[in-house]
């Protein structure tokens, strides 16, 4: 039976807090952790399958033009080659997150360097790879096209635009004003597990093991791409070795493996090389951002301006939503927010972990630091003075708002010195030492979701949904919710995720996974509780379940008496989405050292305090924050996609050349989880935490660099070259 619940009202009844099992929120280790670290958790490419052929994508070596001819005959003479798949249904770019339909197909039209154009299938991977490299492709090259945003006129994204009051006048009248322009470079979404798919076709059903974040959308994208019904497709993604947005929509390998398997009537596996992953999947757009802040003599904002320029391929709707949190984080009645999109021929831009705030917040929060300095106000205090009591543009109440607590508790735990903020005051040997801070904000999303929970006659439970766990801890938090609601120890619960034969989950993305699927599971569990209560002749609210027993009496096994209870929970966020402004909030504090001679910056310590509703699992939540802060360090200091200025191809295409932080770059990180219940965020009063940890963190490092050595830098990442160029003598 399916129980549908549409949430129009805040869920003020804290049922999870009144249950008896006591597992919710606990720092439970991941239930699939052992399988992962012992190599027994199979990832998409690891499924063993007889007679599987190997496919390798052929990628374009021009930026814009048309494939005239692929030398299939030549390729077919190479050892082991089984087929060259040239098919108009192959996709030419990855699907955007939640697209639900095929992205651009017809790969013979080339729009960016590295675009997949065909698939070579061979008996072995090495043969396919060699043939894919050697295959002769003839192009008609359209010649020079724009590959940098500066080359083209950008389009204003009008539904993002806000113009209220008169910002120019507010700037002119302000006691303190900041007008600063920042740049951020592109970021990779590449995860440890490269994109991979293994497809099997039995004449009726296409089964694809793939590495994907949102099977509920992916199945429709794949069906649309190849032209068969979604009911004839089964997608399986039990374990996903990281997504970061790169696996929100289907990518080229999924469609290529599927078409090849159908054409050849045998299983085909396609694994992208590390270079193909970097060159062919989602990039985060580079940005140029102008911040204008006008404040009165108390530091209260009277004007707020944020203009951003981002880029994407022609035909893509996605524009990095840089201004997302700028719309509500700070007040200022005179507002001007404008987002512009430049159409250029670089690989597809799309959602990469924390799209929008990941780059918008570091620019905003760096500008706030300048304002604090100009106004002579402690930066923590400046932010405290600028917390709006409702969404300044939409006038909506906040579902909950923990920024002030995060700022205060974070400052306290970090040992923030509220005294003078003069730069260049502390030197140890070659190193300048300084501190900086920034606010964190990330909009909260919640989505429709379904999950089936079966309480089995043997007193165990099974949860089934096509929701994925991309390494974030979904398996574990789902088990905790079920355990709490049904009074079971988590080891009595089998969580079966990542299979489209199960009810549709929300998918993992936009930090909405846990709150959405958790709410669906909660709905299902409530329905099961109702049944059990009815059986006991009592009211559900009186039902006390723990350790497999109802109250002090009967065991669940006795109570079930040989039959299972299965309920599908269908959760849908209703008016709560329109009636409230919902966001996670937080604060970052960093201490860095900057080398006087070389401009090298190292982070000494960093702390983040975050408020994001109910903490479902203190350990996995903390891990998400640690990961987010680590991304902040990367963004602040090293991460940058580098594109050739002539043809727009990505040059740093692997993890040796694209510099994410290594262990040595990441000091002991401190995370404070500020417990709260946000009844309007989701049915289980939880918000997203997967992205908040990186939304502003880079600015705390930038501000600390300034405090340390006096270098005000307006370009991320803050490399030694940039630090030296800005450092006073």
């Amino acid at each position: 039976m399916t129980v549908h619940f549409k949430q129009d009202q805040p869920a003020t009844d804290n049922r999870l807090d009144t249950m008896a099992q006591g597992v919710i929120g606990k720092p439970l280790p991941r239930i699939e952790g052992l399988a992962k670290v012992t190599g027994t958790a199979p990832y998409a490419a690891e499924y063993v399958c007889e007679n599987c052929a190997e496919g390798v994508l052929v990628t374009a070596t021009i930026t814009r033009g048309t494939v005239v001819r692929v030398d299939i005959d030549g390729a077919m003479r190479m050892p082991g080659v089984v087929a060259v798949i040239e098919d108009d249904r192959l996709i030419a770019r990855p699907a955007q997150g939640t697209a639900n339909e095929a992205p651009k197909q017809q790969p013979r039209t080339v729009c960016y360097w590295g675009q997949p154009i065909a698939l070579v299938v061979a008996e072995t991977f090495e043969q396919a790879r060699d043939a894919a490299r050697r295959i002769a492709v003839e192009y008609r090259d359209d010649g020079d096209v724009a590959v940098t945003p500066a080359e083209v006129a950008a389009e204003e994204q009008e539904d993002e635009t806000v113009r209220e009051g008169n910002l120019d006048k507010a700037m002119a009248d302000a006691a303190f004003a900041v007008d600063a322009t920042y740049t951020t470079q592109g970021h990779a979404s590449a995860a440890m597990e490269p994109h991979a798919a293994m497809a099997q076709w039995d004449g009726r059903t296409l089964t694809v093991h793939a590495s994907l974040q949102m099977l509920n959308y992916n199945i429709c994208e794949l069906a649309d791409a190849i032209g068969i019904g979604a009911e004839n497709i089964r997608l399986i993604s039990r374990f996903v070795g990281g997504g970061f947005g790169s696996k929100l929509g289907i990518s080229e390998e999924v469609v290529a493996a599927s078409l090849a398997a159908m054409q050849l009537q045998r299983p085909v596996r396609v694994v992208m090389s590390r270079q193909q992953v970097f060159q062919g999947i989602m990039r985060r757009s580079e940005t140029t951002q102008r911040l204008r802040l006008a404040a009165n003599s108390d530091g209260a904002l009277t004007g707020f301006g944020h203009e951003a320029l981002v880029s994407n391929l022609p035909g893509e709707e996605f524009a990095e939503p840089v201004l997302q949190s700028s719309h509500f984080l700070y007040p200022g009645e005179n507002r001007e927010l404008v987002l512009k999109l430049a159409r250029i021929h670089r690989m597809t831009a799309g959602s990469v972990r924390a799209p929008g705030e990941a780059v918008g917040m570091p620019a905003l929060e760096a500008a706030m630091d300048i304002l604090a300095e100009k106004a002579g106000i402690d930066p923590v205090e400046l932010r405290l003075r600028n917390i709006p009591d409702k969404d300044p543009e939409r006038g909506l109440p906040f579902s909950s708002h923990k920024l002030a607590e995060c700022l205060r508790q974070g400052a306290e735990a970090f040992g923030w010195d509220h005294g003078s903020r003069l730069a260049r005051q502390r030197r140890e040997g070659e190193w300048w030492i300084g501190t900086g801070m920034a606010s964190a904000a990330r909009v909260h999303n919640v989505a429709e979701a379904k999950a089936r929970v079966t309480l089995k006659a043997d007193g165990t439970a099974v949860v089934e949904t096509d929701m994925t766990d991309i390494g974030t801890g979904t398996y574990t938090v789902v088990a905790q919710i079920v355990g709490e609601m049904l009074g079971l120890r988590p080891e009595r619960i089998l969580v079966d995720l990542g299979d489209t034969r199960h009810p549709r989950g929300p998918g993992s993305g936009g930090s909405w996974g846990a709150a959405s699927i958790g709410s669906a599971v909660y709905v299902a569990c409530m329905a099961i509780r109702e049944k059990l209560a009815a059986q006991l002749g009592t009211d559900e609210s009186q039902l006390r379940l723990s350790d497999g027993k109802a109250g002090d009496g009967q065991t669940l096994v006795e109570l079930l008496d040989g039959s299972d209870i299965a309920q599908t929970g269908h959760y849908e966020p209703g008016r709560i989405k329109d009636d409230f402004a919902a966001s996670g909030f937080g604060a970052f504090f960093a201490q860095v050292r900057v080398n006087h001679y070389t401009g090298e910056t190292r982070v000494d310590r960093m702390l983040g305090a975050f408020g994001f509703g109910r903490v479902l699992n203190a350990k996995t939540a903390r891990s998400q924050c640690l990961g987010g802060i680590t991304w902040s360090i990367g963004m602040a200091l090293t991460e940058a996609l580098e594109f050739d200025p002539r043809d727009g191809h990505l040059v740093n295409r692997d993890l040796a050349e694209y510099h994410v932080p290594v262990h040595r770059d990441v000091p002991d990180l401190d995370v404070i989880l500020i417990e709260e219940r946000d009844p309007a965020a989701s049915f289980i009063q939880a918000k997203g935490i997967g992205e908040l940890g990186m939304c502003g963190g880079a600015a705390s490092i930038a501000n600390a660099i300034y405090n340390a050595c006096g270098a005000r830098i307006f370009d991320y990442p803050m490399t030694p070259a940039r630090v030296l160029a800005a450092m006073p003598d």
């Binding site: 070596t61 090495e126 270079q275 040595r664």
Partner: protein, 328 residues
């Protein structure tokens, strides 16, 4: 990766014989070569594995120096007691490179011969004179922040990326090279790598069929030994600029100054004029500025790498600061 034949060489002569043909290559640790083979930057038809030809020992030489076998791993060299005591600059340089896993596998000979990290060299869809003579240089006018500011040519602006060899150049070590007929020759590390000129495909002076057998360090030099590597992240990154220095100060004056520079050129850069300038004078900021003037006299940026020129100067000042601190 292309299909290839694999043979295990039993002696240096055997290895040299097997690799006389241009389509044959030696493989030692494989940490560089296998990556390049996967990218089809290298497409040898035959791999001659020298893993078992011996030459993995580190032994004292008659003149008080140290002979490091070509197959000694980076880890073995860096933790060797005599290296740590007498040649700390070498231990530091090695430990500043790559990662523990790579160093466990990487060999001394392979490290000397590691190829450039130029983005256009490692992408076979791009022009590169080093990889494909006559195809052009993609890095000129492209992304070139890692590239050379000294000794580059119109044909190639790549850098030699390694750390170990920079320290060996400062120490004035020699490379012992064997041939198929059992003959040996020895070349100073300072002359082992070449400038690109109009033959950028030749990284070093090895001829086909020659095998590095060992590197010989001279007797230990008195003085402070310093290795500085400037990089964006603190590990697992190649040098933007590096300096290996052996500097002695007596009675307020510099008595020895052997410096070599990494990240600036197609080879570890050693300029004998710097030693001449420094020796005999008291260390000072002004003196090191003059040394930087000499070093960077002909330096030329390519755009993205312009920063290396002031950075090299500042790194030299950092070395000075270390000298002053240790001398005090």
């Amino acid at each position: 990766m292309r299909a290839f034949d694999y043979r295990r060489a039993h002696s240096p002569e055997d290895a040299a014989r097997l690799t006389q043909a241009p389509e044959a290559m030696l493989i030692a640790g494989g940490t560089n070569l296998l990556d390049l083979m996967k990218l089809q930057v290298e497409t040898p038809e035959l791999l001659a594995d020298i893993g078992r030809i011996g030459f993995a020992e580190i032994i004292d030489t008659d003149d008080g120096g140290l002979s490091i076998g070509a197959l000694a791993t980076n880890t073995a060299v860096a933790i060797h007691p005599r290296v740590r005591r007498d040649y700390p600059v070498l231990a530091r340089a090695i430990l500043a490179g790559a990662t523990q896993q790579l160093r466990n596998r990487a060999t001394t000979g392979g490290n000397l011969c590691q190829r450039t990290r130029c983005f256009y060299f490692t992408d076979i869809d791009q022009p590169c004179n080093k990889r494909e003579p006559g195809s052009g240089c993609g890095a000129i006018g492209g992304v070139n922040k890692l590239h050379a500011v000294l000794g580059a040519s119109d044909h190639c602006i790549a850098t030699y990326p390694g750390d170990m060899a920079v320290a060996m150049a400062a120490l004035d070590a020699r490379v012992i090279i064997g041939a198929a007929d059992g003959q040996q020759r020895s070349v100073p590390v300072r002359d082992f790598h070449r400038l690109p000129g109009d033959t950028p495909w030749r990284d070093n002076v090895l001829d086909p069929g020659e095998v590095i057998l060992a590197v010989e360090l001279p007797a230990p030099l008195e003085g402070m030994q310093i290795y500085r590597k400037v990089r964006e992240r603190s590990s697992y990154a190649f040098a933007l600029v590096s300096i290996a220095a052996v500097i002695a100060v007596e009675n307020g004056a510099i008595t020895r100054a052997e410096l070599a520079f990494g990240g600036l050129a197609h080879k570890p850069w050693h300029d004998p004029r710097i030693s001449e300038l420094l020796v005999g004078s008291a260390p000072s900021a002004e003196l090191f500025d003059r040394a930087a003037d000499l070093l960077l006299e002909s330096a030329e940026g390519q755009g993205d790498n312009d920063f290396k020129i002031p950075l090299a100067r500042r790194a030299l000042h950092a070395v000075l600061a270390q000298v002053m601190e240790q001398a005090a």
